[in-house]
């Protein structure tokens, strides 16, 4: 984080600023998606962009996720740098062929000759009473696919810096924003900065336990860390920021220091992001662990609509505190 006193922006504003700056810098950057122009998306993240850049660069599409993602792939191969906007991450299901069989593989299949410099921006996260088809966090699927990079910003600062990196990257990058964070405020420099991929950020320094957290779970982890502090447990919170590439070194170094680890991510638990990170820690820090590596994720149920049910499915600060405390009970 830069040191001078800074402007505060919301997460949504930070995303918008990154897009605006990159569109000013590079005329090849265009946005494609549903209701992205005058409506500025239902989340209003893109408000104002069409006014500045016009409809030839902020392009409203039909409700054709596969179609406009495919068009973005082809445009990226031929000189543009498109940012395709998938309103809800749940709709990634419709674009998987274009992302996985096309975008992710074209560079490799062409022996390095063709490139697909595109960004797929989408959302994740539950707790909005939006039910099972508008609440998923499916990022682990994409992290499994070689050729893609997957970015999960957790603060306005990171969102701006990582999105600029994503747009400048020559590979297909999936950039996933938690809907619940759009209004979160934080310091964001007004100058042009980028954040490299594959570099985790230590969001809080601690000595007793390492909490690896992604996206909005970073905020959950920071809340839990404050509660743990009161209980005399000093938690280090590590945010990988990009889960592919994953900064294994920073995580392992932290766990070697703390000897305990919990991984938390909002995707489903089973076969989720936490499995990769936990198994990696359990392997590489094996001789340093004082307790098993624990995982916390969304419950393995379709996200229910009913508030008391939905609330039970998402990892909370309290649940995380309980898991961490559990590590200190047994010896």
């Amino acid at each position: 984080m830069p040191e001078t006193p800074q402007r505060e922006l919301t997460f949504a504003e930070a995303v918008r600023e990154a897009l605006a700056e990159e569109m000013r810098r590079d005329p090849r950057v265009v946005i494609l998606g549903e209701d992205v122009a005058e409506a500025g998306t239902p989340f209003k993240v893109l408000s104002g962009l069409v006014e500045e850049f016009g409809r030839a660069r902020v392009i409203d599409t039909p409700i054709s996720e596969a179609g406009f993602t495919g068009v973005a792939v082809g445009a990226a191969m031929t000189g543009m740098r498109p940012v395709a906007d998938i309103m809800f991450g749940d709709f990634l299901t419709l674009t998987m062929d274009q992302i996985v069989n096309q975008a992710a593989k074209i560079h490799y299949m062409s022996g390095g000759k063709l490139k697909v410099p595109m960004v797929l921006r989408t959302t994740m996260g539950a707790a909005r009473r939006s039910a099972a088809q508008h609440s998923q966090s499916l990022h682990v699927w994409l992290s499994h696919v070689p050729g893609l990079k997957v970015v999960l910003p957790s603060t306005p600062y990171d969102a701006k810096g990582l999105l600029k990196t994503a747009i400048r990257d020559d590979n297909p990058v999936v950039f996933i924003e938690d809907k619940m964070m759009f209004r979160m405020k934080g310091p964001v420099p007004s100058d042009d900065y980028t954040i490299p991929f594959g570099v985790a950020d230590v969001k809080r320094v601690g000595t007793d336990v390492t909490i690896v957290a992604t996206s909005s779970m970073v905020q959950t982890a920071l809340g839990a860390a404050r509660m743990l502090e009161d209980a005399g447990i000093s938690a280090e919170v590590i945010d990988p920021r990009t889960i592919s590439p994953l900064d294994r070194g920073t995580i392992i170094a932290s766990v070697k220091k703390t000897s305990r680890a919990v991984v938390v991510d909002e995707g489903h638990l089973q076969y989720g992001v936490t499995a990769e990170i936990a198994s990696m820690i359990a392997d590489e820090a094996f001789y340093h662990l004082d307790a098993p590596v624990k995982r916390l994720g969304a419950m393995d149920v379709p996200v229910p609509f009913s508030p008391p049910l939905e609330d039970a499915t998402v990892p909370t600060e309290e649940a995380l505190v309980d898991v961490v405390r559990g590590l200190f009970k047994k010896t």
Partner: protein
Amino acid sequence: MTTETRADRTDEAIDAARGLEFYSQMVHIRAFEDVVNDLYKRAAMPGLAHLYSGQEAVAVGVCQALHRDDYITSTHRGHGHCLAKGADPKLMFAELLGKEIGYCGGRGGSMHIADQETGNLGANAIVGGSTGIATGAALSAKSLGNHRVAVCFFGEGALGQGLLYEVMNLAALWTLPVIYVCENNLYNEYTHFRETTAGEILARPAAFGIRAERVDGQDVRAVYAAASALVARAREGGGPAFLECDTYRYHGHHVGDIDRAYYRSKDEEHEWMTTRDPIGRFGEWLCEQGFAAPVTLDDIRSQAATAIEAAAQFALDAPYPVAGDVWRHVYA
């Protein structure tokens, strides 16, 4: 394949009793949506809802042409379909409020409400997502020989989804008893359909060899007549059809969409609400035919309002599911 406009087609016989039934259903849907909007404004409903007000003639006209055990699939804007197919407003409100006694035990909510008993295979929050399901239900009907018909309701926004074309091809190849009902309310969320829809809508199904018709979706008699003919044809093995209904949604895309000036004008809204309102127009016709006096219609409306209020109250009073039950129903 023929593509034709049926707006001025003469009715299937609608007698007084039937006419009052149509009217009552449309009025109940309107009253239901008014209360949903009110619940939202009072912060008594979790999440958002997409109101059907203005489009009542489509759901009622089509569902009146169906048997109770015929199938429908519905959309995010599905309350009207659900009611028209025969669901109980009490259990619907309970679902919208996330209550255990709701149609889906509160698990589904507004965008996933389903009622197996009346053949409603469910609302769907994926635009176009239920087109395969409706077509599959029609395949079942044909395979099992049970003479059912499946109706797939969707907004014109679903014309953007490739799945629709895949399943229309299948339905045509296999002569399936499915009717694709396209409710063209002019907008895909906040974008006019002309900006998202190239060429001619009816030419699309027609290209797959599917009978395609267009009807004034604000005229319940016209919708009923067109739907009755297409449903009968499908039931007799005549194959799939596509019915475009011109209609309009009175509220925002969802209950929270209040400032709409950037995508549609107040004048346009006013025009549709005053000159083409499906309830008003049909009410006039009922009176003209001598099927009802204005006061009868007033009574129907006020009774509906009372009944719907009571249904909402029932739901407000009902208990939530217990959190421990969150694991139930993941697997059958």
